[in-house]
Amino acid sequence: MTTVELAVKISDAIIYASQNLEESLVKRLNEFKEHYKGDDTPNSKASYQLLKAIDETLKLSIKHNLPMCQDTGLTIAFIEYGQESRYSMAEIEKAFNKALEIALDRGNMRASIVKEPLYERQNSKTNSPAVIYWIPKEGREVTINFLLKGFGSENCSSLVMLNPTSTEDELIETIVKSVKAAGSKPCPPIVVGVGLGGSSDRAMYLSKIALLRSVGERHPETRYANLEKKIETAINELQIGPGGFKGDLTALGVAIEYEPTHIAGLPLGITISCWADRKGKVVLK
């Protein structure tokens, strides 16, 4: 494939992700909707209407070739790069950013990226560049996983440098505090990515990697899988509810990723995703 062909292939995946949520997430949203159906309190009625609107949005998005949400996000890509790939890293990076420009046009997405953050904040008009992380691996294959990260929820993400002697309860409490502070801002119901260990930046990175996992899929280690469940329960006890309309269902999913860290620290990265937890995957042979 030429760089342009590569860009078109990637743009198809970006457009698809802007209009379709993964099956497990759609199923979970439907469970939430059924939960509030028929409940006549003003809060539950509002939650039900929101969940119904989400359902309609997903259908209209495909019907009209529009992104489900106008915030088509900052695109964050995690590229597992096979060292013997026929494509160079520079070529893939170029193709990925070109793909954003093509998706903007063909998928009616939004140019949401400004070139400089503080002074002019001039729009790049191409919805690029993406944030790109490289993960080296053996072989020829390249696997690109990406998130279309909405910024209403990204503004609620945070880093906490916990004490290395912190307990599981303290960890849960810290995450719950952060979700409570976010409240209705990140478009609940939410998906929470938790990164533990590494350095401060690495913990945030891990919290994004955690969001790549399918909603509902648990950590392979039992104690971490149980911790995910405990965090989910604790978040639901906050009574934020869909839309922040107050209710007993707030967390669509919680996923944890961890890595080794320093004896003096326990970095905790928390990334919150809105219900429109959009992600995609492209494999290049």
């Binding site: 209009q19 003003p42 809060n43 009625k45 509002a46 209407q49 929101l50 609107a53 989400i54 309609e56 949005t57 997903l58 209209l60 998005s61 009209h64 070739n65 529009l66 992104p67 489900m68 949400c69 106008q70 915030d71 088509t72 903007l104 046009d105 009616n108 997405m109 939004r110 140019a111 949401s112 904040r121 729009n123 008009k125 909405g150 209403g152 503004n155 409240g183 209705s184 801002k185 478009c187 839309g243 922040g244 309309f245 107050k246 809105c274 219900w275 429109a276």
Partner: protein, 174 residues
């Protein structure tokens, strides 16, 4: 089902009768403005310079649309987080803005401004951009075109679903 159709602009009486969690379908004209447009308006107000639009009795929708769809007048166009506009809202409400539409909570200063100006804060469904695109009849840019998706627009809507977030007495759903 329990939505009530209301025509914009709302009368004083209509505003005072609305309560948190009331479900409305809006019909009429909205002004669309978000972060940078608010910042520019605030600078003009501070310098006492003329504004590019009339603020009296306006309804401001916090939104920045995606690219226009092929068969619709606008692109995906759901609400953005209202809290980021809190720093500007009291100034704009004192200049005549009656109603704001967004998602998420407002700060105490905005709640007080809503009470003082007998206004309203309405909540639209976050993330439902494609749905809202089908509720817009027309759109035109009225100021700051150079801001791209952050330009000020005037849009006409029909059957546009919202929930009363903060009523004219300051009662809130949050």
């Amino acid at each position: 089902m329990s939505y009530k159709v209301v025509r914009l602009p709302l009368t004083k009486e209509e505003i005072s009768n609305l309560k948190p969690f009331d479900m409305l379908l809006l019909e009429g004209k909205l002004i669309v403005a978000r972060d940078q447009a608010h910042k520019l308006l605030a600078i003009l107000i501070e310098k006492n310079e003329p504004l590019p639009l009339e603020l009296a009795d306006q309804v401001i929708y916090y939104m920045g649309p995606a690219k226009k769809g092929n068969n619709l007048p606008i692109g995906s166009c759901g609400p953005t987080t209202a809290g980021r506009m809190d720093r500007f809202t009291p100034t704009l409400m004192d200049r005549g803005v009656k109603v704001t539409i967004g998602k998420g909570p407002r700060n105490q200063a905005v709640v007080e401004s809503i009470i003082a100006n007998k206004g309203l804060y309405l909540v639209a469904y976050g993330g439902c951009g494609a749905l809202y695109a089908t509720k817009v009849i027309s759109q035109k840019v009225i100021a700051f075109e150079e801001l791209g998706p952050e330009a000020i627009l005037e849009i006409e809507v029909k059957d546009f679903p919202v929930i009363v977030g903060i009523d004219s007495q300051g009662n809130s759903i949050y």
